[in-house]
């Protein structure tokens, strides 16, 4: 087990969005969480990453690292990141005045230090990150621009995937990573995710649409509705949802 969510309830601005959600994820698995607008998909991603604007009112999130079980809810967002939890944002945030290179290198080294890996010098990190950039077809100039500032929607999403491949998390939540991407950009992002996928990590794709799942094959598909997972199945479930919508489940 990598992640075990049990009876999770969470609210934002006094409105309860997650209403007793259960989800278990093991290393090596790819999960897709689908659901209509307002079902709580993004809320789940943010609660996993520790967004301070969401209040968890009940339930537990167990997270296993090196055979030790941790309560994710007791950890600050940066502690979660250092333990290998990653969220690819639906709307990546622009940070003018902070270069992508410095941002990524400090992040990499903070996580490496915490996990006991050697930190990288600027020279070593430069070679390392440039290699990773090839997998998402990003030009080197992006390293020297401010984080996401002035990036197109597609460039921002690719930057998220670049961060994921550089930081090498154990658990990656991709929140609507496919939204706003044209088909070419979608393929690039999917290639990056597929290269990242391994038997030691797990990927959770939160998405509206089936089309991302044509490129990244999930092992499990879950339907999130009304703040709960109401149905789980294999890849066929996604096709059925695409063809028939969500109404038939209820």
């Amino acid at each position: 087990m990598l992640l075990n969510v049990k009876g999770l309830r969470a609210k934002v601005e006094e409105k309860e969005v997650l209403k007793g959600l259960d989800l278990t994820i093991n290393p090596g698995e790819v999960h897709a969480i689908m659901g209509p607008n307002g079902s709580g998909k993004s809320t789940l991603s943010k609660v996993i990453a520790g967004h301070p604007g969401y209040e968890v009112t009940d339930g537990v999130i167990e997270y296993e690292v090196n055979f030790k079980e941790k309560n994710l809810l007791e950890m600050e967002p940066d502690e979660r990141a250092k333990e290998g939890v990653f969220l690819a944002f639906q709307y990546p945030v622009e940070v003018p005045g902070v270069s992508n290179f410095d941002f990524l290198m400090s992040s990499y080294n903070a996580i490496a230090k915490h996990q006991g890996f050697p930190q990288k010098s600027a020279e070593d990190f430069s070679a390392f990150v440039k290699e990773k950039m090839k997998s998402v077809k990003m030009r080197e100039e992006f390293l020297h621009r401010s984080v996401n500032a002035g990036f197109s929607g597609g460039e921002k999403k690719r930057n998220e995937i670049l961060q994921m491949t550089v930081l090498n998390p154990r658990l990656a939540f991709l929140d609507e990573t496919d939204s706003g991407l044209d088909i070419d950009a979608l393929k690039i992002v999917a290639d990056g995710v597929n290269q990242f996928k391994s038997s030691e990590n797990a990927i959770v794709m939160v998405t509206h649409y089936q089309r991302l799942l044509d490129y990244i094959k999930p092992d499990f598909v879950h339907v999130l509705s009304g703040g709960k997972i109401i149905k789980s199945g294999g890849p066929d479930l996604a096709h059925k949802l695409e063809a028939e919508g969500y109404d038939w489940i209820h």
């Binding site: 940066d78 990141a81 969220l87 945030v93």
Partner: protein
Amino acid sequence: MKSILKVWNNYIDNTTNDLHTSDWKQWSQESVNRWSGLDFPLGEDWKYVDFKTIRDLDIHFPSKEIQNSFFEDDSQYVYQVNNFTNSMQTFDGKLPDGLKIEKEMDLLSRAENEPLDKREAGTNPFISVSQSFMGLGMCVEFSSEYKKKKPLKIVLNMGDFNEDNLFLNYNIHIKSYSDSNPHVLIEIHGVKFSGLANINLIGSVGENCTLSVVFKEKGGEESHFVVNHSYFIERNGFLNVFDLTGPSLWSRHNLDVDLEQEGAGVNLSGIYLNNNNNFIDHHTAIRHKKGHTESMEDYRGILNNKAKAVFNGKIIIEPKAAKSNSNQINKNLMLSSQAEVDTKPELQIYNDDVKAAHGATIGQLDDDQKFYLQSRGYSENDANQILARAFVFDLLEQQTQVVQDFINDEVSAALNQVRGNLG
């Protein structure tokens, strides 16, 4: 102001020298008459100033001179001004071609009919104070032979007196003539300074000359500074000023620029970093007197704890200043709910054919940016510090390498303190 009067009486009684003119004492007395009756400065330009820490200071001149301690630095010509009598020295005793430095008193001794500093004090009595203490200063002159030379660094060393409640006055006259294009780096070495210092920079920028002045105030918990910059720019002359204000207890910077002739321009920028319960006030006034003049102004402040800042930026475009262009911005980042800033951009435009824009912002750290950084492994403290640095980053990036090298350590130290306080 009464305590300054006491110091002045002491100065005028004890200053004996072999001046060829006796007029200076009379000029000095006339200047005193303009401020000696005031309790403290009044009026709109002073209404946000908190005088409580300054009005009861029982100030006096230093009782003894201090020893020179030189800052050797091959990248600059370093001039150190040590105390109230203005003993000055370079580290190698030589000056490069095109640079002349004299004591103000020496120049006064040759002055025939008028004082060196003819500024009108307007609403700022501290300009009159500096004129009363004429003689306590230096004159720096750059001719065209100075072109492409190393920067001149002037260190006002006021940190080693080991006396409380001092009064110091420094007048620095800077004249730059055509094509000299000098950089002047002025450092207030005053972390341990206790008392009030009145510092005056009177600069003239000649035709086709670019003068760059960087003013770095390193004050401490008992430091009170009044800094009066006054610049006069001639035809096609250009002035760059970068004003860095650090953690002095109390600091007021007045910065006046007169764009006297066509084609004159100025770029003023500054950063104020208030971490504690200190007070920093910038009052700037740019006068476009002739056509085709240009001014740009960008001041940024980061305030923490109970710090208080004031920014008042006045731009006056006079009737004869057609085709002038002016742009002013003041941005403030508040890191504490108890910090306070009063910002007031002010445009006075008397000609229709001009471009003028101004703006002011007061904001807090962006929660989404903070969470984004935290989600990538940055602690909350690190995220705060990085975002505070990002707030001033583009302004720092616009500066020349000389300026960046001169201020980077202080900016980083101040931002580190931001992190510490938030933690």
